[in-house]
């Protein structure tokens, strides 16, 4: 096929496709380091202020967090099925599953935005707007503020990755509509899929660490 030529530095299509995935994995390794710093900061402060973190975590709506996890896992399934559709050359199914992935990704952000606005309304946004008063002498409001600093930073950076992911999915949608993908050439679908699943993996860790501290 004319538009699925192997670039001259590769032996064949398989090697070219492997190289594309490998490149994405190298980028994802830097992403692991990026989020890793935040997780390390979280570990240090949770170790230092266990009572404050447990109390702060109870301010969140764990049910919405769990629902959002289910939404994101389902979007990952749709993304995996979109890649499958690209591999098998089904353009209609590819576009359908890309659309479902985008709808579920957007739903995640809507739910997350609702949670944020509620928490900001409760005065839990760190800084001048932080009005939380500690109900117990066991921990200070400043320690709870530290939790919310990490909470807003980590979910914020994660949400930003979701927005980038949605833009990339939009690009895939346009390219699929223009019939740019074939069973021989779908590397963009595969590597953007890798990115989307990675963002899902980050949330898999954020959910229990932020929402589920201490038993109910």
């Amino acid at each position: 096929m004319a538009d699925t030529l192997v670039a001259h530095q590769f032996d064949d299509m398989d090697q070219q496709r492997d190289a594309a995935s490998l490149g994405m994995w190298i980028f994802l390794a830097t992403e692991v380091m990026f989020f890793g710093g935040l997780f390390a900061a979280y570990a240090v402060y949770r170790w230092s202020y266990p009572a404050a973190f447990a109390e702060a975590s109870h301010q969140l709506n764990a049910l919405l967090g769990a629902a959002n996890t289910a939404v994101l896992l389902t979007s990952s399934l749709c993304m995996a099925l979109a890649v499958h559709a690209a591999q098998t050359g089904s353009r209609r199914r590819l576009m359908l599953f890309l659309a479902l992935t985008m709808i579920l990704g957007s739903l995640f952000l809507v739910i997350k935005g609702y949670e944020w606005s509620h928490e900001i309304h409760l005065g839990l946004l760190p800084g001048a707007t932080f009005t939380y008063v500690s109900p117990s002498p066991a921990f200070s409001a400043t320690q709870v503020e530290m939790y919310f600093m990490l909470y807003f930073l980590m979910t914020g950076v994660h949400g930003f990755h979701m927005i980038i992911g949605l833009c990339l999915l939009m690009y895939l949608m346009v390219q699929a509509f223009r019939k740019r993908f074939t069973p021989d050439y779908f590397a963009p679908v595969e590597v953007i899929g890798l990115y989307w699943h990675f963002v899902d993996v980050v949330w898999i860790f954020l959910f229990p660490l932020l929402y589920l501290i201490g038993s109910k």
């Binding site: 398989d14 496709r17 492997d18 995935s21 490998l22 994995w25 190298i26 994802l28 390794a29 692991v32 380091m33 890793g36 710093g37 997780f39 390390a40 570990a43 240090v44 170790w47 230092s48 764990a62 769990a66 996890t69 289910a70 896992l73 389902t74 990952s76 399934l77 993304m79 995996a80 099925l81 499958h84 591999q87 098998t88 595969e190 899929g193 890798l194 699943h197 990675f198 899902d200 993996v201 898999i204 860790f205 959910f207 229990p208 660490l209 589920l212 501290i213 201490g214 038993s215 109910k216």
Partner: protein, 91 residues
Amino acid sequence: MPQHILPVSTYLLIFAALLALLLATVGAQYIELGPYNILLALTIAIFKAVLVVLYFMHVRFSSRLTWIFASAAFLWLGILLTFVMADYLMR
């Protein structure tokens, strides 16, 4: 490596497993285990992440080179967390 197309049923099975593990994470919070609650939650999270990486991200069927890079990412994360916490835990 020639590409490996997984059947749709595999994706559905992994998805069902992920949802079951999500329910397990939420359910585990209602059991009082003290410091082991966090360990249990993290163990389940690692299981979920491994399922996503191996099947949704196709690493199980990827080249050895991809394995090395994917493992290296988490190996270095492990070094970061281990050394930081070794400091704090032993103060």
